[in-house]
């Protein structure tokens, strides 16, 4: 985590980043190959789609977490914020009976608002991101239970709602490819966020803040405002994750969410984004999220005993990242 160390390797890493990014697939591809050989059930369209769908929620959450982590922060609230946004959608759609579009909007706005609050704690009040988002994690967890009356809110009154994640636009165009909308949304969010990170001023400041916040401030930039903006964007992406999971479950499950932040952050770090900030890619995060879900699915398909699944998952996560480190060193 010491940012100062190994400047040389960083420079080399980013110099060859094109090649490296392609190679980062390697761990993932090896995993897929191994599972395909081990079980004929793995490489079926339906299973591939199940894996992608299992990735969709964690993938979107991980993208949200990536933004904050690149600024050098951490976000522990992504999981419960997702749930909170799902509950808000439930309130708007089921309790108040509003049209679908408003529910979608409400979830995203709720996410952005919560992100703005976390960002304000961090930027203005100088509360360490770990504490600010830990607090928000608990606050949102409690509020979800309070608002929902501690029971799931079902979306049966809004028939279109399940389509958000479970319908298949692609399937209706290309009949043989019933990729659920949830997966489509994951990729759209990834592309949009990647674009923001690489091409817009907000993205530039995201990296700059994580690289050396003091230098940015000394350049006369209002760092607080930009930091809050990053947290707000991250929050609104959590709102999308909330819609995805609610649509997938056709319900807002108010108790779900805590613990999901760990999977999300794990995907980010496996994907090569540095927890000390300044460096990271969305494509890496996507690959990280896929590694996690391929592992989970594959081990289940192989009927590995559940206690051993955990052991193997832990080992492979370490191994995958180590492989990645070795490859980068060799480049």
């Amino acid at each position: 985590m010491s940012a100062s160390a190994s400047t040389a390797s960083v420079s080399i890493g980013s110099k060859f980043s094109g090649a490296h990014r392609l190679l980062a697939f390697a761990s993932l591809i090896i995993l897929i190959l191994v599972f395909s050989l081990a079980s004929p059930n793995f490489m079926q369209t339906s299973n591939i789609i199940a894996i992608l769908q299992a990735t969709s929620v964690n993938g979107v959450l991980a993208i949200a977490a990536t933004l904050v982590i690149i600024t050098g922060g951490i976000d522990l609230s992504v999981g419960t914020l997702m749930t909170f946004c799902a509950v808000i959608a439930g309130v708007v759609l089921t309790f108040w009976g509003m049209p679908l579009g408003l529910g979608v909007l409400a979830a995203i706005v709720a996410g952005a608002a919560s992100g703005t609050l976390s960002g304000t704690f961090v930027a203005k009040l100088k509360i360490p991101p770990f504490i600010a988002t830990l607090g928000m994690m608990l606050i949102l967890k409690g509020l979800s239970l309070v608002i929902s009356g501690t029971r799931p809110i079902y979306f049966n009154g809004t028939p279109g709602f399940t389509q958000i994640s479970q319908g298949s636009l692609i399937g209706s165009v290309i009949p043989g490819l019933p990729i659920p909308n949830g997966v489509l949304i994951l990729f759209l969010v990834a592309i949009a966020t990647s674009f923001i990170l690489e091409r817009t001023i907000l993205g530039r400041f995201t990296f700059a803040l994580g690289s050396n916040e003091e230098a940015v401030r000394l350049s006369g930039v209002n760092t607080d405002r930009w930091k809050i903006a990053v947290y707000a964007l991250s929050g609104s992406i959590c709102g999308i994750a909330g819609l995805l999971i609610a649509s997938r479950l056709n319900s807002a499950q108010p108790a779900l969410g805590q613990g999901y932040e760990l999977d999300a952050i794990a995907a980010v770090v496996i994907g090569g984004t540095s927890l000390s900030g300044g460096r990271g890619t969305i494509i890496g995060t996507l690959i990280g999220a896929l590694i996690i879900s391929v592992l989970a699915n594959g081990l289940r398909i192989l009927s590995v005993a559940q206690e051993w699944q955990t052991v193997v998952t832990g080992s492979i996560i370490i191994l995958a990242v180590y492989t990645d480190i070795l490859r980068r060193r060799r480049l």
């Binding site: 400047t7 420079s11 110099k15 993205g203 530039r204 700059a208 690289s211 230098a215």
Partner: protein, 514 residues
């Protein structure tokens, strides 16, 4: 002619430290105003107040004769005040161009998107005007500090300020780059920009300064015209007494024992077949242009980087150096050129940084540390090197740049190695202290240490060295005797490609023969 900037009776205190007291500065447009003073005199602090980074406790700032409040870097920029910081303030993960224009990126698509092409073009334009060959798309974290410094300069230039503060801009630069910078300064002067120039290199005064303001112990001493005032006078204003310079004679080491010998060192393209040796009591100077590979050689000897091939001998016995610990055990110490990243644990206090390489010596049974003994040595070095600090418990990052450098030196003096490699040891150190360090190096040599001094200041190399090794593009192009001239060194330092191989055969022979 009304002054561009007047700073009147400025006062500033930090907890436990009075950094400024009744400080004065008057800057005219179109002049280069040198700000001189010993390490910790308050130069950087005064300039940080002008640049809106610190708030002053007392005093007044007038811009064009009107009082102004400068409360943030942004306000300073808006008032046309730009600054090149003494310590680098870059975002290592961003490219050179991105660093230069942070917060002022050219946009396209109605301001929504970044115009990366124009960004790079603009940066390239500035680099061209500085005659700097640097790809604007290189991440700055991978650049040497000299190049990072050039990026900082480019950034300051890009603001087109009316007032430009340069806090030791040449500390990390070599002569060619310094000449380039001075050409830029001349152009800016002609455009009417007022420049505050802080440096510890006295020779630069005569070359560019119009007037000189001297500070000592956080106070204003006086302002004098640069051309008419003798350097000795300025120095005595700075240190409060006259300095005597002594050129020690070069002892004959022909019969002394060879302590360190390096044979056929290679590392990628940055070190190509370097062989050299240092004898007991000898100071070997290491000269070369930026990127010549001197630092790389030192790091490779020290085990900080892996080497592809090459053997290292101490007292004729081969030693296996893989990590710095091996080197230190074998009796080799290395003082890095980049103190912030590689030299200091800046969050820790002076005492602990001084003992960092010798902690085992202060460890009693059960791993217990002997704090009292640590305090004693820290106090001794604070005294010996005149380190300006309220106590040995002050965090190092709160010290002025020069005083930080002295702490790194103290760390290696305490470690007491047989071979000491000093990489740019006087970077950012004031004249008085520089003299002290020269004396110290000579004394160490007299005690029988073998010393390698890497320096980009030729006068320093010439003054200190008993022999001078010169590098160019990773090759050792020759070894000159102590009395060599600047021209001889520059000749070897620019010997490129195949011609170098040829010269290498003959020149070292000449060096060794002396």
């Amino acid at each position: 002619m009304t002054a561009l900037v007047i700073m009147k009776d400025i006062g500033k205190s930090f907890p436990g430290v009075r950094a400024l007291h009744n400080a004065q500065l008057e800057l005219r447009s179109g002049e280069v105003h040198a700000l001189m003073g010993e390490n910790g005199a308050g130069k950087s602090t005064l300039m940080k107040i002008l640049a809106g980074i610190y708030r002053r406790d007392a005093g007044e700032i007038l811009l064009d004769g009107k009082p102004v409040e400068i409360n943030s870097p942004r306000q300073a920029q808006d008032l046309g005040i730009g600054i090149i910081h003494q310590e680098l303030n870059l975002m290592p993960h961003l490219t050179a161009a991105q660093n230069i224009f942070i917060g002022r990126e050219p946009r396209k698509a109605a301001g929504l998107l970044l115009d990366e092409a124009r960004l790079n073009a603009n940066a390239a334009e500035i680099f061209a005007s500085m005659h700097l060959k640097l790809d604007p798309r290189t991440p700055v974290g991978g650049l040497t500090i000299a190049r990072q410094q050039m990026v900082e300069i480019a950034k300051a230039l890009s603001y087109r300020s009316r007032v430009l503060i340069m806090d030791e801009p040449t500390a990390a630069l070599n002569d060619a780059e310094i000449a380039e910078l001075f050409a830029i300064i001349d152009r800016l002067k002609a455009e009417g920009v007022g420049i505050v120039y802080i440096s510890h290199k006295m020779d630069e005064l005569k070359r560019i300064a119009d007037r000189v303001t001297v500070m000592r112990d956080s106070e204003y001493i006086g302002t004098v015209p640069a051309a008419e005032t003798p350097v000795d006078k300025i120095i005595s204003m700075m240190v409060g007494r006259a300095l005597t310079e002594e050129h020690p004679d070069i002892p004959d080491h022909a019969t002394s024992e060879v302590v360190l010998e390096v044979k056929h060192l290679n590392r990628g393209t940055v070190i190509r077949d370097v062989s050299l040796s240092v004898r007991k009591g000898e100071i070997l100077g290491f000269a070369g242009l930026m990127g010549a590979g001197r630092t790389e050689v030192a790091r490779a000897i020290f085990g900080a980087d892996r080497r592809d091939s090459g053997d290292i001998y101490m007292h004729g016995k081969k030693v296996d150096i893989r990590i710095p610990q091996d080197a230190v055990r074998a009796g080799i110490g290395y003082l890095s050129e980049d103190r912030k990243h590689f030299g200091l644990a800046t969050g820790m206090d002076v005492r602990n940084n001084v003992v960092l390489a010798s902690l085992a010596r202060f460890t009693g049974p059960g791993g217990l540390l002997r704090e009292a003994a640590m305090h004693d040595v820290a106090a001794r070095y604070i005294d010996q090197l005149a380190i300006k600090t309220p106590s040995d418990r002050q965090e190092v990052r709160l010290l002025s740049g020069g005083n930080q450098q002295k702490i790194v030196i103290a760390k290696w003096l305490l470690r007491d190695c047989e071979v000491l490699i000093f990489d740019e040891p006087t970077r950012g150190i004031d004249v008085g202290a520089k003299n002290e360090i020269y004396k110290l190096l000579n004394a160490l040599a007299k005690q029988g240490r073998a010393i390698i001094v890497i320096s980009s200041e030729l006068p320093e190399v010439l003054r200190l060295s008993h022999r001078i090794a010169v590098m160019c593009e990773g090759r050792l192009t020759g070894i000159l005797p102590g009395g060599a001239t600047q021209e001889e060194i520059m000749h070897l330092a620019t010997l490129r490609g195949d011609t170098a191989n040829h010269n290498k055969q003959s020149k070292p022979a000449k060096g060794e023969a002396k």
